[in-house]
């Protein structure tokens, strides 16, 4: 009886074995990479898997993306744990807005060749009025936006 039980146990064990064994590190890496590919914010994430432990690294845009990368990899069956070594990209340089005095001078220069256009500057906002031909509008706007204003209000400008 004991022998039979032992054989049954061995047979049962040998059947159970493949499901216990799980996926190889390479398979887990492929699965984890597929999991993060779904999210475009995670395109810079690099995954390595060793003994079922995933290490994720690379640069992402914000802490939310760091967390999202970790969550996505965690959902891959067979990953035991995750070491999150991703970094957040430095913020872009601040917006450079010209102070009102030099901006007023720069805008005056910008509209000089368009005598039918007037401009005022208040707190960095350039307000354009008057009228302009459709053909000259692009040139005018290129020149005005190059003065680095906070905003250009051109609702009062009639385009003919």
């Amino acid at each position: 009886m004991k022998r039979i039980l032992a054989i049954v146990a061995i047979v049962a064990f040998s059947f159970a074995l493949p499901s216990c064994k799980g996926k190889s590190d390479a398979e887990l890496k492929t699965a984890a990479e597929a999991a993060i590919q779904a999210n475009p914010d995670l395109s810079g994430v690099i995954i390595e898997v060793k003994d079922g432990v995933a290490t994720i690294s690379g640069e992402v845009k914000d802490p939310a993306a760091q967390a999202a990368a970790e969550t996505a990899v965690k959902e891959v069956k067979g990953i035991k744990s995750i070491s999150n070594e991703t970094t957040v990209a430095p913020p872009p340089p601040p917006v450079n807005i010209t102070p009102d005095d030099p901006l007023t001078t720069a805008v005056k220069d910008a509209i000089k060749d368009h005598p039918t256009v007037s401009a005022t500057v208040t707190d960095g906002v350039v307000t354009l009025t008057g009228e302009i031909s459709k053909a000259d509008l692009k040139t005018l706007m290129q020149k005005v936006q190059a003065t680095k204003p906070k905003k250009v209000e051109s609702g009062g400008l009639t385009v003919k």
């Binding site: 872009p92 340089p93 601040p94 917006v95 001078t105 720069a106 005056k108 220069d109 910008a110 000089k112 060749d113 459709k134 000259d136 509008l137 692009k138 040139t139 706007m141 290129q142 020149k143 936006q145 190059a146 003065t147 680095k148 204003p149 906070k150 905003k151 250009v152 209000e153 051109s154 609702g155 385009v159």
Partner: protein, 139 residues
Amino acid sequence: MALQEKYQALVDAANAAGVANLAVREQDGVLYIDGDAPNGAVKDQLWDVYNQIDPNYASGDLVLNVNATAEAGSQVRVVTKESNLNIRKGPGTDQPIVGKAAKDEIITLINRSNDLWWSVRTKDGEEGYAYAQYLEPVS
């Protein structure tokens, strides 16, 4: 982030055209896109995309500042509409005119220490400041 979505096609076009130092930031309801275009044609192309997204640039929610850059000492072309380009003593339209360059004339860029007014030399040897928006690199 809604503005970034609105102008995504513009950002994609800038990336595809090889705009360097591209920076896209949203602040107080305005999107700021800065960068260095490889030439004047790319700049114009981006402004056409801008006009498609925001007809007549009327919304006031974008400040597009992608300009064609040129190296000091290189040749630049005068791209006025039809008139001559004034070369002035200093950077500003209040400065006296010291020379003129014809439309399509090729002149030398001395430096662009000022974003809006580049220091230039004409082939006649006249030196002064010209409005940068009327100059583009010779490619």
